[in-house]
Amino acid sequence: MNPISQSMQKEEKSNSRREFLKKLPVLAVGAAALGGCSPEEIEEYFQQNFKTLSKEEKDEIVKNLEKKYSEKYGKEFTVSDSPATEGILFGYALDLSRCIGCRKCVYACVEENNQSRDPQVHWIQVLQMEKKKGIDLVHADVHYNPEKVPEEGHFYMPVQCQQCRNPQCVSVCPTKATWQDEDGIVVVDYNWCIGCRYCMAACPYGARHFNWGEPNIPDEEINPITHYLGNRPRTKGVVEKCTFCIQRVREGKYPACVEICPTGSRKFGNLLDPDSEIRYILENKRVLVFKEELNTQPKFYYFFGV
């Protein structure tokens, strides 16, 4: 080898060595983390798909999680694993003529469901559309930011998981980490999701969100009333989505977005109960489902109330 290339090689080497030395602590931490895995962490690693577990195993897991989260966030946590109730199929209706685009639902959802603040995750996207164009995605804008809403000549269309009866996201998931429970809610097992994001490519409504980095929520803002398949704290590298506030609706409460909406645009109820408000809307208003041509058959309806 000639001397020039030799000295070049040296320089290259020392360069990469310097960089390598910088990384050394990281490697050491990684190795220590691997070697120093606590038995709980190892057990968690080998935990099976939540759907396939027995009641006892599920109870055990949520008990451990309660302990873990309580220690981590310094407050009493509950993690529920309450299953679907027979005779209930949840449905949602949103009144496009009332929504003013204030995004109160977006932030209520973030707080209720422990979405990461930084990087920011929003399960609800509100689209601003032009009245004269109708529902037209090409001209829709989620980043509208005027002083005051609603803006002249515009209407608003909030979009979240449409809880499809025929969910594409579920069919494509290679690990069965996401599924539709008996009450119609599409959920994700955050401990089973490998983060391949195939479901995000498949969802026609942009309803699935990925934790690109470690989620951050200030300790004092965390909501400690959680469900295993819903708003419990997530880790980086997994997908999450709207669950109709599974932790609330399975206890007989309304989703947070329904409660917060100042215009009463959001309606929620049991599609199997003929006396429910949602059934009243289906019978007496004219409803539409978003992207009906894709045959996803949402349980989330839009209507024009006034």
Binding site: A140, V172, I194, C196, C203, Y205, K236
Partner: protein, 417 residues
């Protein structure tokens, strides 16, 4: 004992070489380290180090994966013409094609691993230990066919080389069916990979029945392009003999593939632009960009221009039958397909996203470094395996040569002392 000696011999082969060999090894190693340190950042901080976000949730990694599936598939499909036209070194063509396929499949799997958020949970998608979503998820299918294809090629290559090493005849009744089986398997891996995208009604840009046929035709361009170049290098540096005619026939077959690809693309363009539905937005983004964001358009035009030039070079008999212009064409078509699969196939599918919002994605430094790591790792692997194969096939590296050496070493020992 024999096996240990074989391994030791292999080790000697891959560590011996000329100056060009050492400097390229060094170059690859530097790239691997540089890329690996970038990947370490991603391991530490998560995929936030990439430029992918919720709107564009797949990017450069998946694009590279798709491209390499094509390389893996086409390398083996070359066996068909080799049979039909009865090229002399058919065994060698099979071996090098399959070595290329093996390395490409390994790189594919690496690109999947770096793309997923929780690589350590990979086992969740396996049958028995995890909950494989078979037959519903095309990703499970893809994993399954890729793995099967990988095994098939490994068995064939190691069997052929192993037998040659021991100076025995390979078992034709096993190898022939396996080689024949690997041809439909090659078609399967690329078709299933196309189905991965093509069956998503949420993404109109991919939701076209022509996607799988287009995949196959581009694969028939990029895979043989690598092999054309490789065969010429082998012919120069080893006893590998392949006639010019065989190379020109490969080139001729590539012209057909290019022509069909062109035809498919024009059909697709015609349908989209003439019907001019709202799905045109993806094609607009592909060709003209949106507002000031023209990065993707630059790549797509580069790909179109390189592809067309290669097509012309390959079409005209004079330039096709001239090794220099032929090689230029091979390089051009290779990069044209690389840009097409790596960048312009995936990204416009997500731009605009399902709610009509634009997020302008270009790969981040981390993504480029990680990809560089995988490509150089793959190249290194390919170099090593090919070097061993060359030694066995052409340089008489065999059990006899090892034994002879052992004897001479024994004889020499007292003298050396």
């Amino acid at each position: 004992m024999n096996f240990l000696r074989f391994l030791f011999g292999c080790f000697k082969i891959i560590t011996k070489g000329g100056r060009v060999y050492y400097s390229s090894l060094f170059f690859l190693l530097v790239l691997i380290v540089w890329g690996g340190l970038g990947y370490l950042d991603q391991l530490q901080n998560g995929l936030i180090m990439t430029n992918m976000r919720d709107s564009v949730s797949w990017g450069f990694y998946i694009g590279n994966f798709t491209f390499l599936v094509g390389v893996a598939a086409a390398a083996v499909m070359l066996v068909i013409p080799a049979y039909i036209y009865d090229w002399k070194p058919i065994k060698e063509i099979v071996i090098f094609g399959e070595i290329l396929a093996i390395c490409a499949v390994i790189m594919c799997l690496c690109f999947i691993v770096v793309d997923i958020g929780n690589p350590l949970r990979f086992w969740h998608m396996l049958p028995f230990v995890g909950t494989m979503n078979f037959p519903y998820s095309i990703l499970s299918w893809d994993f399954f066919v890729l793995f099967a294809y990988f095994l098939l090629n490994i068995v064939v290559v190691t069997h052929l080389l192993y037998k040659q090493f021991f100076k025995k005849h390979y078992n034709k009744s096993i190898i022939l069916p396996l080689v024949l089986l690997s041809i439909p398997a090659a078609i399967a891996i690329h078709t299933v990979t196309a189905f991965l995208y093509n069956a998503l009604p949420a993404r109109p840009y991919w939701n076209s029945a022509l996607l799988a046929p287009r995949f196959l035709t581009t694969a028939f361009c990029s895979g043989p392009a690598v092999l054309i170049l490789l065969f010429q290098v082998l012919r120069k540096t080893t006893k590998f003999e392949i006639k010019d005619e065989a190379i020109f026939t490969i080139a001729e077959l590539m012209v057909y593939a290019m022509f069909i690809y062109l035809f498919f693309t024009i059909s697709e363009f015609f349908k989209e632009f003439y019907s001019n539905t709202e799905h045109i937005v993806y094609w607009d983004y592909l060709l003209w960009g949106a507002e000031k964001n023209k990065e993707i358009a630059i790549y797509s035009w580069a790909s179109i221009i390189m592809g067309t030039s290669a097509f012309i070079l390959f079409l005209i008999p004079k330039t096709r039958k001239n090794l220099l212009t032929l090689n230029i064409g091979a390089v051009l078509i290779y990069f044209s397909v690389y840009l097409e699969k790596g960048i312009t196939l995936i990204i416009p599918g997500f731009t605009p996203d399902t709610l009509g919002q634009y997020f302008f994605y270009v790969p981040s430094e981390t993504e480029i470094r990680t990809a560089a790591m995988i490509f150089s790792g793959g190249a290194l692997l390919f170099t090593f395996i090919s070097k061993i194969a060359i030694a066995i096939l052409f340089e008489g590296f065999s059990i006899d040569s090892l034994e002879k050496k052992a004897i001479t070493e024994l004889k020499n020992k007292p003298v050396a002392l």
